[in-house]
C-alpha cells in the first residue's frame, strides 16, 4: 500500500512538472468544455468545428484541448479546474449549465481567461457570448406555420431557460402570423443530449398529431424519428444536419462560432482581451440559415429569405409589438421592439401558447 502511495505521489509530481512545462512555453493554450460528444452532429459539433478553425488559423502558436460530455453541475467545476491547472490561458465553457461553475473556477484562477456561452454572469476574467438564435427561430416558425397541415407543431425543449423560451416564443409568433390556427405542443426533455429520449419525444409529438418537429436539443435523433414516421418535417438545430436533406430536414439554424473564437484567441495572444458581452445574430454571421430545400413551396421560401435579409440588415426585429404575454397583459406596444435585457431574462410565453413554463 505504501509503495502504491509513493508511486501515486511520484506520478503526480511528474504530472505537475509536465503541467508547469506546458505553461512555460510560448504557445497559447485554449481549452474547451463541451456538454455533449463532438460527434453529436449539432451543438457540440459546431463548437468543435470552431476549435479546429482556431487551430487552422494560428497553427503552431496555439494549442487546443477539449473535454467532451461534461455534465452540467458540480462535476463541471472539476473539469474546468483541471483544464485551468493544465495551463490553459483561455477556456471556453460551451453550455448554459456551466455558468456558475465557470464563475467559481474563474475566481480561483484570476490569470486565466474564461468565455461562457449563452450565460449572463460576467467577471473581470469571464466574458459571455451567445448567438441570437431567436432570429433563426423566426424564419423556422414562418416555414413551419406555412407547411403544417395538422396545425400542430411539436417542440422539443431541453431546459426551461431564457434561451430556449425565446426560441419557442419567436417560432410561435411567426407561425401564428401566417397560420392563425397553429398550435404548439411543447415537451421538455430535461437533457441537451440523449438521442433515445429525443427520439421518444419526437415520436410522442408525432403520435399526438404534430407534422412539424422543432427541436432545441443537440442530436439529430428527432430528425431520424421524423424520417421514420414519414410525412413529417423538421429543421437542423445548431448545425446544418445536411444528411437529412433528402428526408425531413427542410432548413436549419447553423451556429458559426469560428470568427468569434478566432478573434478572442487572438485577443489573448496580443494581450488585448477584455471582459465582453457579445450577442450576435444573422447580420454578423454568428447565426446562419441552412439551405431551404425544395419541399418548401417557392413563395414560402422567398418570404423566408426576405425575412432573413430584413433581420440581417436590422430592418426587422422578430420581437416587434404589438405582442401580449400569455396571460393577455400587454408586453410590447405597436411598433415597440423588445429590449435585449427582457430577452436575456425571458421567462414567459407570449399570448396563444398553451401550458406553463416549468419553474
Amino acid at each position: 500500500m505504501k509503495r502504491r502511495t509513493l508511486l501515486a505521489g511520484a506520478a503526480m509530481a511528474l504530472g505537475l512538472a509536465a503541467g508547469a512545462a506546458v505553461a512555460q512555453d510560448d504557445k497559447t493554450k485554449v481549452g474547451f468544455i463541451y456538454v455533449g460528444p463532438v460527434g453529436d452532429g449539432g451543438w457540440t459539433y459546431e463548437h468543435d468545428k470552431a476549435r479546429q478553425a482556431v487551430e487552422a488559423e494560428y497553427g503552431d502558436k496555439v494549442e487546443t484541448v477539449y473535454q467532451e460530455s461534461v455534465p452540467e453541475g458540480a462535476d463541471a467545476e472539476r473539469a474546468i479546474t483541471q483544464m485551468a491547472l493544465q495551463g490553459a490561458d483561455l477556456i471556453f465553457t460551451t453550455s448554459f449549465g456551466f455558468m456558475d461553475p465557470t464563475i467559481n473556477v474563474a475566481k480561483k484562477f484570476p490569470d486565466v481567461k474564461f468565455e461562457h456561452a449563452t450565460g449572463y454572469k460576467t467577471a473581470d476574467n469571464v466574458s459571455v457570448y451567445s448567438a441570437r438564435f431567436y432570429e433563426g427561430r423566426a424564419i423556422q416558425g414562418h416555414i413551419a406555420g406555412n407547411m403544417t397541415e395538422s396545425n400542430i407543431i411539436g417542440y422539443i425543449g431541453s431546459y426551461p431557460i431564457p434561451e430556449v423560451i425565446r426560441g419557442i416564443n419567436s417560432a410561435f409568433i411567426h407561425a401564428r402570423k401566417v397560420n392563425p390556427d397553429v398550435q404548439f405542443k411543447i415537451v421538455w426533455a430535461y437533457t441537451w443530449f440523449d438521442p433515445a429520449k429525443e427520439a421518444d419525444a419526437a415520436r410522442t409529438l408525432i403520435e399526438q398529431g404534430a407534422d412539424v418537429i422543432l427541436q432545441h436539443t443537440d442530436s439529430t435523433a428527432p430528425l431520424a424519428a421524423a424520417e421514420a414516421a414519414g410525412d413529417v418535417i423538421g429543421f437542423g438545430q445548431a448545425s446544418d444536419m445536411a444528411e437529412y436533406k433528402d428526408g425531413p430536414r427542410v432548413s436549419s439554424i447553423i451556429d458559426d462560432w469560428a470568427p468569434y473564437y478566432i478573434e478572442r484567441v487572438g485577443a489573448v495572444m496580443d494581450g488585448t482581451w477584455e471582459t465582453s458581452n457579445r450577442w450576435d445574430g444573422i447580420g454578423a454571421g454568428m447565426v446562419g440559415i441552412g439551405e431551404i430545400t425544395d419541399r418548401v413551396p417557392e413563395d414560402v421560401k422567398a418570404e423566408a429569405l426576405a425575412m432573413k435579409e430584413a433581420i440581417a440588415a436590422g430592418e426587422y426585429h422578430p420581437f416587434t409589438g404589438p405582442l401580449n404575454k400569455q396571460d393577455g397583459s400587454q408586453w410590447l406596444a405597436e411598433g415597440e421592439v423588445a429590449s435585449d435585457e427582457t430577452l436575456l431574462g425571458m421567462n414567459f410565453y407570449v399570448e396563444g401558447i398553451e401550458g406553463d413554463i416549468p419553474e
Binding site: A196, Q208, A225
Partner: protein
Amino acid sequence: MDLSAINPVLLIASLMVAATPLLLAAIGELVAERSGVLNLGVEGMMITGAVTGFAIAVETGSPLLGFVGAAAGGAALSFLFVILTQFALANQVASGLALTLFGLGLSALAGQRYVGIKPPPTPDLDIPILSDLPVVGPILFGHDPVLYFGIFLVAGVWALLKFTRAGLILRAVGENHDAAHALGYKVVRIRALAILFGGACAGLGGAYISLVRVPQWTEGMTAGVGWIALALVVFASWKPWRVLLGAYLFGGITVLQLNLQAAGVAIPVEYLAMSPYLITILVLVILSADKSRAPASLGRIFHASQ
C-alpha cells in the same frame, strides 16, 4: 389539457420499444452478477454493441446480422473484462469503469464513418390476422423480433436459474466461490461465460437503440442507459421478472410522461420528468421488502490458491 390526444395503443406499443434496450442490458448484467461478478462496464458494452450493430447492418443491409454482430461486439469487449478480472485478478469496479470509458472512446472512433447514415429498417413481425387485430394487434404482435427476444430471454434466464442444474451451479459460484471450487466447479470458466453473456446482451441492447429506437448512429448515444440498467438489477433484487417489471415501468413512465407533457396535463413538468426514476425505485424497493439480498460473493476476486 387534452387527454384524448394520447392514443393508449400507440402509447403501450412505444413504451415496449423504450423499455427493450434497458431490459436486454439489465438481464445480461443480472446473469453476470448472479455468478458473483460486478461489471460496471455495461454502458461501454452497450455503446460498442450500438456501433458494431449499426456498422454491420449498414454494410450487409441486414438488421439481423447487425444484431448478431452487436452481440459479438459487446461480448468481445466484455472479454477484455474477463481477462482483467478473471485472469489478471484486477479490481472489478476499476476494470468496469475502465471498460465504459474504453467502450465510449472506441465506439466514437469506429463510428466516425457512420454519422448521418440511415440503417436498413428492422421489419416488424407481420403475422397475418393476429397483427391486424384491433388494440391487441399493435401491442402484442406488431413489433420487431428483438423485442420479443428480450422477453423470451427474461423467461429463459428465470427458468435457467430456477430449474436447471446449470443455473444452480451459476448461483453457487456467485454465493460462495470457494465452496463451489471445492466441489470441483470451474469458477473462472463459469464466470467468464456469464460475463460474455452479459456483454452480448448489453451489445444487443445498444444495437436496439441505434437500429430501432432512434434509428441512427450518434456518438455517446446510449447516454447513460447502461448505468440505469446496473441500478435496475440491484433494485430488482437480482430477480429476472422484477427486471422485466422495472424496465417496463421505467420505459413506460418515460414515454407516458412525454405524452402527458405533450397533452398539456396540469402536473408540473419537473415531477413528470423525475417520475420514471421515482416510481421505478419505489415499486422495486417495496417489492424487495422480502428477504432478497445480493449474491454473497458479488465483486469478490477468486483465485484457486486462496
